[in-house]
Symmetry: C2
Subunit: 394 residues, 2 copies
């Protein structure tokens, strides 16, 4: 065989998803893109806020020497200080530039974190349904991802988590607001999770790290707040990006925030800086680092996503769909009316509606609707959603 | 222990280099940055060409919808087509967008390539002296880097290469123009290397890939040309970036070019696209992809580096230094007058001259001078270089 057996295997496993995307592409060519209702991708359709464009234009116009050169692998000190100041305020935790490492998005951040922390075979626990790339990220670092079931409403099942933690557990990885469910773990739950991890860590004589993947942290509805893991648990790290809060996923700009109370903090931070370099990221893109430093706290108009969520939820509820109303992110994860979620997604596809089977997220019997789309896509797809449900309820 | 044992070990191994950088920083604080002659970093000091700034300004001013959104993991089709057209012309090889994968610099490219190709324990052979990060890149993908000695003038030692190739060899990784030596492998040598690899591949019944890391491909002097590996060897891949040709290292924009004649081409390309995603790069930064599409073939004024090279070489030759005149890149790799290159580098440091010991590049008994610095740094450091040499020649 030519290429790596593992990569060949990964390609084989994901071939059914690729096939579905290819089917979708075929439909678009056959009927025209506007006649296909594509809810398959988490690609924000809202433009970045005006302040971003203004600040980008200003920064590009500045004649700063060496403005596209290498900087320290952790990022520009000014950018890290700006991120620390804003984030620290939000978390009510004293953060400095030293606690921030700029990364190529949250995907880069998570790879750097896991590479820094994991020894071969160590386990990363994550509540399912989950963002399926986590499995690859853990594997990249020589670790193993283990999923932990959640409750019916996708809240954390702490008893299941307690059972899953063992002497191989190095990281508990949470994602809140969650992709694909839109669930936000509340403060009481995070506090209980922290207590559980502390207790288990003591019993096992080791550190268990809490890694919180929060790229949707700013996309929350109805006044819901994402609780601070930095306050809740000392050995915690945040991975996040501006991909969703500023609609910049293609620019690959994010960061890691390390809890100032984390044990052996120098090793953790220096290890992450080393990993950022040796994994080939080297540093987060320079220009975007300079831009985001000046627009901390800015974000897209979240009420637009909320309107889309409500439009979708109201329509689907009337059509007989069963789902948990998302508290954040821009995904809905309804139950499939039949156990075979792939079959149901294929039935939707026949009505030119593209979604993703829940099996791809460790949530079989469900499917994911990414509603970061034009309102009219939701409106025009609604008949198809309703008719498809009727077929299966006959 | 808290963090990964491997990463902790890596930090320990590189701590002496860090210490030297810290010493340099101390000197800068003590004497002022302009009184310290810093030749330690390959950070281009020449600004990007004017066309870059003009094109960047134009692109930023365009109101393209979704201009910061995700695109296919391989990159924008238009960018890939533009890169393929220009590169294909240079190599006299028919390339299309399908053969190009945009990456987060050459560091990202190499990690994607090695992850795609290597099975656990497979070997990557590279001529030494070499860019020291290769060791990490191979390890990241579960492989092992093995170095192969070069001739006295840093040209390839094909007999040593022949001896090193065995049934675990999956990749031969070359870097021409070379960091740290400035050597460019000529066409006859590349042809012989290709013949050797074909013969060995046949004898071993396997594909051995030639990976050419060419970020300095445009930085060549005296009419020297970097021969095309795409023409020379079917199972070949180029990793490169605009970091040096356009002075953009902080922006992390580069690409992989896959030989259209490579065996099992679909697996190779699809594997790389998957790896670009799962390693956390996801895609090369969007804005820079759009910018470089419009300025293919542009580059910094290489005559500036040539002037610096000559200034440095003339001064050091007069001072009794022994070295190979670089044919490309912006590094000089002179012999240390004593076997202990670390001791010699420390002696230079006493005269506020910062360089890197050759041991750090698998080239003990040498040291690296990165001459991508102001002319006056070279001029002002020359007395110190000459005096230090005198000390050791007493």
């Amino acid at each position: 065989m030519a290429i790596s057996n593992k990569i060949k295997g990964f390609m084989g496993q994901s071939s059914w998803i690729r096939k579905m995307f290819e089917e979708g592409d075929k439909l678009k060519k056959q009927y025209g893109a506007d006649q296909v209702y594509d809810f398959s991708l988490g690609n924000p359709n809202i433009d970045p806020p005006d302040c971003f464009q203004e600040h980008l234009t200003r920064i590009v116009g500045m004649d700063t020497p060496g403005r596209h050169a290498y900087m320290p692998n952790a990022g520009y000190p000014e950018t890290r200080a700006a991120v620390a100041a804003f984030l620290g305020q939000g978390h009510d935790v004293a953060l400095s530039a030293d606690h921030i490492l700029m990364t190529c998005g949250a995907g880069g951040a998570l790879n750097v974190i896991l590479k820094t922390l994991l020894d071969p075979g160590e386990e990363v626990l994550t509540p399912a349904p989950f963002f399926v790339e986590y499995r690859f990220y853990a594997d990249n670092a020589g670790g193993v991802l283990k999923t932990v079931k959640t409750n019916e409403d996708f809240s954390l099942d702490l008893a299941a988590m307690a059972e899953a933690i063992n002497d191989k557990t190095k990281v508990v990885l949470i994602n809140s607001p969650n992709n694909p469910t839109g669930k936000v773990y509340d403060e009481a739950t995070i506090r209980k999770l922290a207590a559980l991890m502390e207790e288990k860590g003591k019993a096992l004589g080791k550190i268990i790290y809490l890694v919180s993947d929060e790229p949707y942290g700013e996309i929350v509805y109805d006044g819901v707040q994402v609780p601070s893991i930095l306050k809740a648990y000392a050995n915690s790290v945040i991975a996040t990006s501006y991909s969703k809060s500023l609609s910049l996923p293609g620019e690959r700009i994010g960061f890691i925030a390390v809890n100032p109370r984390i044990l052996e903090i120098d090793d953790v931070i220096n290890g992450m800086v080393l990993c950022n370099r040796i994994l080939g990221f080297v540093n987060a893109p320079a220009l975007m680092q300079r831009v985001i430093a000046g627009i901390q706290g800015m974000r897209v108009d979240v009420s637009e996503y909320q309107r889309k969520r409500d439009l979708l939820c109201d329509g689907l509820a009337a059509g007989g769909y069963d789902f948990q109303k998302p508290e954040g992110a821009f995904y809905l994860f309804p139950k499939s009316p039949i156990p075979d979620d792939v079959a149901f997604v294929k039935a939707l596809q026949k009505r030119r509606i593209l979604t993703v089977p829940g099996s791809g997220f460790g949530g079989p019997g469900h499917f994911r609707i990414a509603y970061c789309v034009d309102d009219r896509t939701i409106i025009n797809a609604m008949d198809g959603f309703v008719e498809t449900m009727k077929e299966f309820r006959k």
